[in-house]
């Protein structure tokens, strides 16, 4: 295939989920030897687009997808691979306990037929040269789990690029592969992409990191609410323009009128002195991704924490709770919480509603009653006996107060809807009468009515406690919080307060600062 020829042509592409148009009338093409970036915020439709290409969701009428001139039939993952579309997703889908060679053989098999033994020497040599082509010198016998993230992504790419039943790869789709990577790892990844581009491969690069996109891509397509906003040459765009395109001009205007251009920095400077009588003080908190996070909250305040995937937002809740190792200090009313003791964090007045309900919160084997009262049983402990009657009374009062639909005191918790399970978890946290309530993605994946209920509860609780909300939903933060910390690459990139707390501002800051700071940021990351 000649460089510059269309490797992938998509026209009129649409996908509808029940009640939602996830993607509408998308026209986009990728040429051989080109990196075409697709960028957009959460819910913009970029993941749906990737699924559409992979044959994993049903297109609407009028959708046409051609790969190297050949029509791709709908919902056909095998055809998609045969025509030359190859995918690497964020989780990479590698087996950590197997060697590089074994992982490379996972999709197409190792070179044997029947009962012949595997020629390991030849397989290892082939694996080594495949990775060398990508610019990586890797021991093919090394276990994938022991490799760095960037090397693992190279293994995933090498596997994706292998011939599928004799057909070569034509377009490589990278879906948020860099999300959990550090700056030097991203630099390595981009280097690899440059090599691949030179071989005439078409690359579709899906991301929400502005810096990378501007550094790597030839063209950029911006999606918003399932619609293409624009496609333009990456060389003529600045970071600020791109950020505006992602957020939307209307929102961006509102942002400019509302405030001077750099709201974050001013607040960072004066933020410390604004609070008096803080109930909750976090100083120089660090974890796997997060570095030196400091903030304060007093009762009556709702503080939001924003950040895109990989910004470190996901680990903050467990760091505060002390269930994962941390550096730095966390104080409630001046008393320091001992690390690695979530039980003591609860006793000192902290309560958490975790993000991943099914793995970190709900106890599916126990009824609503036990789930709700688990964190504080003392009121029912009388004369050496748990009083089931007074417990039932309190549980049913909570069911009524939070209008937990479908719940009975001794009914199963696992049959409740997501929103109602979440309310049980909120009740569990509130029953401890927390001084500091932390809610991690409090309304993710739950229905609209339950969202409104939970927001109302949060506002009520905030009258007497300090509330910290960690959320990927900037609208949620904007509507609830008086102050929002925006995390980027493990640090507090900005702190918005009062009238500055706007959805658009949060999104903008999650992506990057103004144009100037964007370039500086990219340079300093490249130097690292």
């Amino acid at each position: 295939m000649q460089v510059g020829e269309a490797a992938l042509e998509v026209s009129g592409a649409g996908v509808t989920y029940p009640g939602v148009r996830a993607l509408q009338g998308l026209d986009i093409d990728v040429r051989a030897g080109e990196v075409h970036a697709v960028i957009g915020h959460n819910g913009s439709g970029k993941s749906t687009f990737v699924k559409l290409l992979a044959g994993q969701c049903r297109p609407t009428q009028g959708t046409r997808i051609r790969v190297a001139g050949e029509e791709l039939p709908p919902q056909s993952p095998l055809e998609s691979a045969r025509l030359g579309l190859r995918f690497v997703h964020q989780d990479l889908a590698l087996v950590p306990s197997q060697s590089v060679t074994e992982n490379l053989g996972l999709s197409v098999g190792l070179g044997v037929r029947g009962l012949k033994r595997i020629d390991w020497r030849a397989e290892h040599a082939a694996a080594r040269s495949r990775l060398a082509e990508l610019g990586y010198a890797v021991d093919p016998k090394a276990l994938v789990g022991e490799l760095s993230r960037s090397t693992r992504s190279a293994v995933a790419v090498a596997r994706a690029l292998r011939d599928f039943v004799g057909s070569p790869a034509r377009v490589l789709v990278l879906d948020e592969v860099s999300a959990a990577m550090t700056a030097p790892e991203i630099a390595r990844l981009l280097e690899m992409l440059a090599r691949l581009r030179a071989t005439g491969l078409g690359i579709l690069y899906v991301s929400h990191h502005l810096e990378e996109v501007l550094q790597t891509a030839d063209r950029v397509t911006v999606l918003r609410d399932g619609v293409r906003v624009t496609t333009s040459s990456a060389h003529t765009l600045t970071g600020a323009q791109l950020a505006d395109l992602i957020i939307g001009t209307e929102q961006a205007h509102k942002l400019r009128e509302g405030r001077a251009a750099e709201p974050g920095e001013r607040d960072l400077a004066t933020g410390q002195s604004r609070h008096t009588g803080a109930a909750f003080t976090v100083t120089a908190l660090s974890g796997q991704i997060l570095r030196d996070i400091s903030f304060q909250a007093r009762s009556g305040q709702i503080i939001g924490v924003a950040g895109i995937a990989g910004s470190g937002r996901e680990e903050l809740a467990e760091l505060l709770m002390g269930s994962v190792p941390r550096k730095g200090s966390v104080l409630i009313d001046g008393a320091e919480l001992p690390p690695s003791r979530p039980d003591l964090s609860v006793r000192y007045g902290m309560a958490l509603v975790p993000a991943d309900r099914s793995s970190n919160a709900v106890i599916p084997t126990l009824p609503v009653r036990d789930n709700m009262t688990l964190a504080r049983l003392s009121p029912f402990w009388r004369r050496g006996w748990l009083s089931r009657r007074s417990e039932a009374k309190e549980v049913s009062a909570w069911i009524e107060r939070l209008s937990i639909r479908g719940a009975t005191v001794d009914g199963a918790v696992s049959t409740l809807s997501g929103g109602n399970q979440q309310k049980v978890m909120v009740a569990r946290a509130l029953r401890t009468r927390p001084r500091v309530l932390i809610l991690d993605e409090p309304t993710q994946g739950i229905d609209v009515a339950a969202v409104a209920d939970i927001h109302a509860i949060i506002r009520e609780v905030a009258e007497t406690s300090a509330v910290i909300i960690l959320s990927s939903d900037s609208d949620e933060l904007a509507s609830l919080c008086s102050e929002v910390l925006v995390l980027r690459a493990g640090r507090v990139a900005a702190q918005l307060a009062d009238s500055d707390v706007m959805s658009a501002a949060i999104m903008r800051l999650e992506l990057a600062g103004g144009a100037g700071s964007l370039v500086q940021g990219a340079e300093s990351e490249a130097r690292q």
Binding site: Y17, P342, P364, T408, G445
Partner: protein
């Protein structure tokens, strides 16, 4: 569990539920009636009942022992050898160290407690899967037992007065049965009516969830191993008094019946490992076995394992089929660190909000 008994017009549901939740009781009744008809002269007698009750005390104590770590989501496979170790150490302390039999029993139980502490240490601190850790410890205990006994039976290991500890009759029933009943009551109280019981079940149901809710999950798991070991040691003391000798084949064969009773019992009443379910299951199986053994007099050693195996598979199949699978899925679950999946947010918002 919803309290269906009070619901109007739900008589059918109540019946269905009680068949599901109390299948072992029905089974027990079925065995009793069947064997009373087929063997009217030997089965429905006081002797048979006494034999079955006393015969199930040691296995029953071990079943209650494994129930505790199992409630917390951990396996203790060392209970069988723990029983043997208690018997051996007791014999040694009495015969070689000339200790009073009561002191010897107490010391043996304490030794078992220490071994349980080591089990807990391996699982909680070192982070070994409980299945593997206790399997390893069990083998080491076997070695210790074989080393001290040189694979010989110890006859007249315990003073004959010690037999009265279990064989003295009170109201027509021997004392060992009372020990089982008292322990079952105690465990039922702890598991169902104290915060510790809640914490244990919560730990077993969702380790990460319980931990973030403020439960000291490490202490729960560790403590459950110590409790299980102490009960196993006590079971050894009781068994020593019942049989009066020690044979190196004692120990590991007790493991399967104990787990069978707990798993079968977990399909009863509460749909999770629980005390009364375990006790009911234990005796339903024991009466079934006894009835069959009386029927096939002579070569009948194969009956017990066959019967236990079939009953266990049947009961758990029934429970899984009727939807009570979570307990068993949870039991299979290996302890895992919570993983951070950053991309989930994007996908979920997409699917729900476009």
């Amino acid at each position: 569990m919803p309290k269906n008994a009070g619901a109007i017009g739900a008589a059918g549901r109540v019946l269905k539920l009680s068949v599901q939740r109390f299948s072992a009781v029905w089974l027990w009744a079925l065995f009793f009636i069947t064997f009373s008809i087929t063997n009217p002269s030997v089965f429905p007698t006081v002797t048979t009942i006494r034999v079955v009750l006393s015969g199930q005390v040691a296995p029953g104590l071990l079943a209650l022992a494994v129930l505790i770590p199992l409630a917390a989501g951990a396996f203790d496979l060392s209970v069988g050898t723990m029983l043997a170790i208690a018997m051996v150490t007791m014999a040694w302390f009495e015969q070689s160290a000339h200790l009073n039999i009561v002191l010897a029993a107490i010391v043996s139980i304490i030794i078992c407690g220490v071994i349980g502490f080591i089990n807990g240490f391996l699982v909680v601190r070192i982070g070994i899967n409980s299945f593997i850790a206790t399997l390893g410890v069990s083998e080491i205990l076997s070695a210790a037992m074989l080393f001290t006994t040189q694979d010989n039976e110890i006859d007249n290991a315990y003073s004959s007065a010690f037999q009265q500890f279990t064989q003295h009759r009170l109201l027509g029933i021997s004392l060992d049965v009372y020990y089982l009943v008292v322990l079952a009551l105690l465990l039922w109280y702890v598991l169902e009516h104290t915060p510790v019981g809640r914490y244990l079940y919560a730990t077993g149901g969702n380790l990460a969830g319980a931990r973030l809710a403020g439960v000291q999950v490490d202490r729960m798991i560790w403590g459950s191993f110590v409790a299980s070991a102490v009960i196993s040691g006590f079971a050894g003391v009781v068994y020593a008094s019942e049989v009066g000798l020690f044979n190196p084949s004692f120990g590991p064969p007790f493991l399967f019946p104990a787990f069978a009773a707990v798993f079968f019992g977990a399909t009863q009443i509460k749909r999770r490992p629980n005390v009364w379910g375990t006790v009911i299951a234990l005796f339903a199986l024991a009466f079934g076995v006894e009835g069959l053994q009386l029927r096939f007099f002579g070569n009948n050693y194969w009956i017990t394992p066959l019967f236990n195996g079939v009953a266990l598979v049947a009961a758990v199949s029934l429970a899984s089929y009727t939807g009570a699978t979570t307990t068993f899925r949870r039991l299979r679950r290996v302890r895992a660190e919570p993983a951070v999946v950053p991309d989930k947010a994007d996908d979920q918002t997409l699917a729900h909000n476009g």
